[in-house]
């Protein structure tokens, strides 16, 4: 029997709210299938199953907020032995190994004890007694069941108990509906991660100016004969060049935890995506070094759309081995990012601009971009960082080979 547990979807995540079951008792579940939607500070995340089997039964109700590690459902793997996942403590926020990670990750910080949230109705830890009709109504209206008084048998919450909450839900959402992001909560999560990064990671910074003339000309020629839906953006070239360069410089691709750096064989490129209203997420493009430019472009478009729709998956949140942040055409000349722990580097691209450029026959203007690296000085030094940036620049001189 396997247990599907509340996963840790970020280094500082302590608890999550189950908002939707995507698979139901009786369904076949394959490892990697989306099994549920969980609400975190960073918004709704689609969580993937870690084991293959048949969904046996749920253990937690929709709307419940439970600590990371809490069992949410039983998956019948047919094996009959204890689940492969690490011992889940109700007290410790311990992430479960995602399929594409190198190995199970213990929490990078001392675990904090998180008690289950207090519930009004009489309940065993984590379970609310709610009638099926009330549960459906609450889910449809985005009402938080915890904190409601139950008038049904044994103090269970029934539909009538929701009347006041339904009226209030119109004015104020107690539990954000799937896709409705709470920017305030997201900013708190970002604040915690960025503050921790600056406390713990000794950053060093490098910048180099890259000639984009060849890449730009190649892109213009390609796009001139393509329909809009097939066109590439410079972003796709930049991301591919970074992914390939990292293959040569492994000190920038992996995780630093518990005093040691573990390079990652796979290159899962996190890409920073701004959310209108002030949010930010940096989900992973898996195996970015293996993607053709068209595939890279498709992934970038898809991620941007899903970030804004609140449909990012757990593996996309957990798996980035490095991050790229590109400000684009309306950005500043350079961006020196803050590393997302437990990663060890963040590569930035500023706004491509025409600059004076010495050429054999004199001075001309060329499209150039400032590429930057913020590196973790515990793991790498400037000399390696400089070589990484040079390699990125070199790769961008031959766009047809990307």
């Amino acid at each position: 029997m396997g247990e599907f547990r509340m996963p840790s979807l970020g280094a500082d995540m302590e608890a999550g709210t189950l908002v939707e079951w995507v698979k139901h008792p009786g369904d076949e579940v394959a490892r990697g299938d989306i099994i549920a939607v969980v609400e975190t500070q960073k918004g709704a995340i689609e969580v993937e199953a870690f084991e293959t089997g048949t969904f046996a039964r749920t253990l937690v109700d929709i709307g419940a907020t439970v600590p990371v590690g809490t069992p949410l459902a039983i998956i019948d793997t047919g094996a009959g032995e204890a689940p492969a996942a690490a011992t889940p403590a109700v007290t410790a926020p311990e992430p479960v190994a995602a399929p594409s990670r190198a190995g199970a990750m213990p929490p990078p910080e001392p675990a904090t004890v998180v008690a289950p949230p207090p519930l009004v109705a009489p309940a065993e830890a984590g379970r609310l007694r709610v009638s099926p009709a009330a549960r459906r109504l609450a889910a449809a209206q985005g009402i938080d069941l915890a904190g409601l008084r139950g008038s049904g048998p044994g103090g269970a919450i029934v539909s009538g108990d929701l009347a006041g909450a339904v009226a209030a839900a119109g004015e104020e959402q107690a539990v954000p509906k799937r896709g409705a992001l709470d920017i305030g909560e997201m900013r708190k999560a970002i604040a915690a991660a960025m503050a921790r990064a600056k406390r713990e990671i000794p950053h060093y910074y490098l910048q180099t100016r890259i000639d984009l003339a060849a890449a730009n000309d190649w892109l213009a020629a390609i796009n001139a004969v393509r329909e809009p839906a097939e066109r590439l953006l410079m972003a796709a070239l930049l991301h591919k060049a970074v992914a390939l360069a990292l293959g040569k410089y492994p000190a920038f691709n992996g995780f630093y935890e518990e005093g040691a750096f573990r390079p990652s064989a796979a290159i899962h490129l996190g890409t920073a995506i701004a959310i209108r209203g002030g949010g930010l997420m940096a989900p992973a493009i898996h195996d970015a070094d293996t993607l053709a430019l068209d595939e890279m472009m498709a992934h970038l478009r898809d991620l941007v759309a899903r970030v804004r729709a609140g449909r990012i998956r757990g593996s996309e949140m957990m798996d980035p081995t490095v991050t790229v942040t590109s400000l684009g055409e309306r950005g500043a000349d350079s961006v020196f990012g803050v590393i997302f722990p437990p990663q060890v580097a963040i590569i930035g691209f500023g706004r491509p601009t025409e600059q004076l450029w010495p050429a054999p026959h004199g001075i001309e203007t060329r499209l150039t971009v400032n590429a930057t690296l913020a590196g973790d000085h515990r793991v790498s030094d400037g000399i390696a960082g400089a070589r990484l940036l040079d390699e990125i620049g070199r790769l961008l001189q031959e766009p047809d080979k990307l």
């Binding site: 001139a224 809009p228 066109r231 953006l233 309306r330």
Partner: protein, 82 residues
Amino acid sequence: MTQQDIRTVLADEFGRIAPEISLDEVDPDGDLRDEFDIDSMDFLNLVIALHKRLGVDIPESDYAQLASLRALSNYLAARVGD
């Protein structure tokens, strides 16, 4: 297709990309990307949607002409139905 029809399509598509901004609020001669706070990915998505809905294929070399909402509307009006 009238200018009003085009405006309806633009309102719809900008509504998807920049839901918090209404067409009536923006400066029709202001910089399009600034007015709607959009980046090149958003702009490409807009071009793709306009191609699909209006049948107008805007080549990259014409992007610079679409500097404002008014310029975009006029560009489309001249080409819809071609």
